[in-house]
Symmetry: C2
Subunit: 202 residues, 2 copies
């Protein structure tokens, strides 16, 4: 006897299953939920996604998501409220949010929208490195590589730094060390070694 599932449920589940990190079980659960939502809410959900996709743009300076020509941060920098000579390079828009939330950084950003990953066929051309290079005029004092401390993050940071250094611009990397509030006991070996290497005189 063939498996029986109604067509609308199958079609909706197939769409959810295309999203990253959503397996078929979760997709079916989400589809089931959508089919029991008030129709007006489903339309709102769907239309919000379409509108968001249509209105989103890449800031022509830093490549972060924005809904206008340039993002709020780059606009502030053009008004002299942020230091445009300090560029922090991150993987994704969520990293900009994280650094802004932490506070204390007064420069501008550059969003790569990905990291180099030869295994997945993502080379330097697939991420926004070219756009970063066109920003590097003589006014830029320092580029801070703030990609994640993963293999891809390291590889991308070192690739970009090799491109920039010959231009005489300072390139730095976020510090490795113990997370604040963490316990030595539970720190992994690599982090401990880095924390030791990067020790500061007090």
């Amino acid at each position: 006897m063939a498996e029986y599932t109604s067509l609308p449920l199958i079609l909706a589940a197939e769409q959810f299953a295309k999203l990253p990190g959503i397996g078929m079980k979760t997709a079916q659960k989400l589809a089931y939920h959508v089919l029991t939502m008030p129709p007006a809410e489903v339309e709102m959900f769907a239309e919000t996604l379409i509108t968001a996709r249509q209105t989103v743009r890449y800031c022509r300076v830093c490549q972060n998501f924005t809904e206008s020509e340039s993002c709020l941060i780059c606009a502030s920098s053009a008004e002299g409220k942020r230091q445009s000579e300090l560029i922090c390079v991150v993987e994704a828009p969520k990293d900009v949010s994280a650094i802004e939330r932490a506070g204390g950084f007064e420069g501008v950003y550059h969003v790569l929208h990905g990291l180099m990953s030869p295994m997945d066929g993502i080379g330097p051309e697939q991420i926004r490195i070219k756009e970063l290079m066109t920003r590097l005029s003589g006014d830029v004092a320092e580029v801070i590589m703030a990609t994640n401390p993963t293999i891809e993050g390291e590889a991308t940071a070192s690739y970009i730094s090799r491109l920039i250094k010959p231009m005489g611009i300072k390139v730095s990397r976020l510090a490795y060390g113990l997370p604040v509030g963490a316990s030595l006991e539970f720190a992994d070996d690599v982090t401990l070694v880095r924390a030791m290497e990067n020790r500061n005189e007090i």
Copy 2:
């Protein structure tokens, strides 16, 4: 400094976060993905959900999801290809799929679309028990309670069986016991006790 996230990303993430089991972190990841999808694919995703919600109906007999008046299973039963005198009561459409996939059941279904759960304010009126009762004519020989073996599943099964038994219709419950292929060692105590109680002569 206030957290900075672009508006389209926030709006899309808020919609995803309304879905069950999707937290804010996952919602942001999904929203980010949607904003980088080709616009045509976003429209397809959105329109599939709207269409699915608009076309889905509840089978007027068994309450399962369908796109026509009655579902394929109830239609087969009307043509005499399935035993309409045997009704299997389940919580959700996915349970119908599971039993059909397993094969061997030749009767029809009744989908409750939920289980009674007083803690969550879900009483007998909130699930499709009334619709089940209207199906119970003299032709029905047996009602099989196939709700999940959870507290809510048990409570719902016993509530419904108390309604049906006075009508002189046989009510049964799926057997408890060891899952096939399982190891005694790892079976939980309640399952072991039930498996012992329900032992069969060989």
